[in-house]
């Protein structure tokens, strides 16, 4: 028998009585004695490493059965579909809500309208009157919305 055979025997012997042949071999083989000693040390470390087994937490079986229920075929597909649609609806709602909030939160300036040509002319006319400039023909101006009678030249008196 080789040393390997005796070492195999040594490992098996831990469960029962050591065979006589093994004892005799250990007496004469220093290497196998060292092996036996090393292995005993490691076995002790293994035993020291043993710690209490964690208990299943409360409701473990119920949770497992629920998960099994949801993981079986059609039911699972249905739940996944509902979840997927539900997620999309939730995202869309969230998006709309954010857009609404942004719209409400922005300052309301309203549309900016360019002044029309007539309004610009009217303003220019008012400025010119106050500074004494006379337009050659202000008929056009009156048509453009200038209040009738305002800033009109007084009619020459007929005597």
């Amino acid at each position: 028998m080789s040393c390997d055979d005796f070492r195999l025997m040594l490992e098996e012997a831990r469960e029962g009585a050591a065979p006589e042949a093994l004892g005799r071999h250990l007496e004469v083989c220093a290497e196998c004695r060292t092996f036996a000693e090393d292995w005993r040390g490691l076995s002790e470390a293994f035993r020291a490493a043993a710690e209490p087994i964690p208990e299943p937490s409360f409701g473990f079986t119920e949770r497992l059965l629920r998960r099994l229920a949801t993981s079986s075929g059609a039911e699972r597909a249905a739940i996944e579909f509902i979840e997927r649609v539900g997620r999309r609806v939730a995202f869309a709602t969230l998006f709309l809500a954010m857009v609404t909030l942004l719209a409400l939160g922005l300052p309301s300036t309203g549309p900016v309208r360019e002044p029309s040509g007539a309004e610009m002319m009217a303003q220019a006319y008012q400025v010119s009157n106050s500074s004494g400039i006379v337009f050659a023909d202000d008929t056009w101006m009156s048509q453009a919305g200038r209040p009738v009678g305002q800033n009109e030249e007084p009619a020459p008196s007929q005597k």
């Binding site: 490992e11 470390a45 473990f60």
Partner: protein, 206 residues
């Protein structure tokens, strides 16, 4: 676990009902075997925070495969086989993303383990600190070992299963299990001796 003949008969009835599509009796099977499954997962994976999740996944796999159970081995052994295979997958994934223990342990833990390895065996089994250090040492040795060694040594040394039980769970013959155990022990002893041989060297330097 099933112990008496009536327990076994009841278990057979539950299994047949589950195989016929009734989910409810599976809960009873879970309650009967959960301690064994938790123990296997705990010893093989050695991550307390993940034991329950992995055990749950193992039970789900068993449920999905229960129609293939043919009553040739005991349900406990069949379930243990599924659990061990699931842990194998987990350990391989974990190994691929590389060992947490080394990083979690850090320099402090490594020094503590070296100190443990330096001390003679008689002094080693004293106090909670030594127990903690021994636990870390075993964890480190197991973490370094190939997954096959880790599984078979854990089943033998921590789960205290017989060679015959291991053979049944791993679906191997008894002599193959003996040889694999012997090789795994030899490899682990090399690692163990390396730690021990560091002791005097470190001591002489200081």
């Amino acid at each position: 676990m099933a112990t008496s003949p009536s327990d076994r008969d009841q278990e057979v009835e539950w299994i047949r009902r589950v195989q016929a599509g009734d989910r409810e009796p599976f809960g009873r099977l879970v309650e009967r075997h959960q301690r064994r499954v938790f123990s296997l997962v705990h010893h093989l994976v050695r991550r307390r925070d993940e034991v329950e999740d992995i055990a749950q996944e193992a039970f789900i796999k068993a449920f999905q495969a229960i129609r293939s159970y043919n009553f040739q081995s005991s349900f406990g052994t069949w379930l243990a086989r599924i659990t061990v295979n699931h842990c194998y997958d987990y350990l391989r994934r974990e190994r691929a993303s590389r060992v947490r223990y080394f990083w979690q342990m850090g320099e402090e833990g490594s020094k503590q383990m070296e100190a443990l390895a330096e001390r003679p065996a008689k002094e080693r089994r004293e106090g909670p600190d030594d127990r903690l250090a021994a636990k870390e040492l075993v964890e480190k040795l197991l973490a370094r070992a190939p997954v096959d060694d880790r599984v078979i040594l854990t089943m033998k040394e921590l789960e205290d299963l017989s060679v015959e039980e291991i053979a049944e769970i791993l679906d191997l013959n008894v002599s193959t299990v003996k040889v694999r155990l012997h090789r795994a022990r030899k490899r682990m002893l090399v690692d163990w001796k390396k730690w021990r041989s560091k002791g005097p060297a470190t001591g002489s330097q200081t």
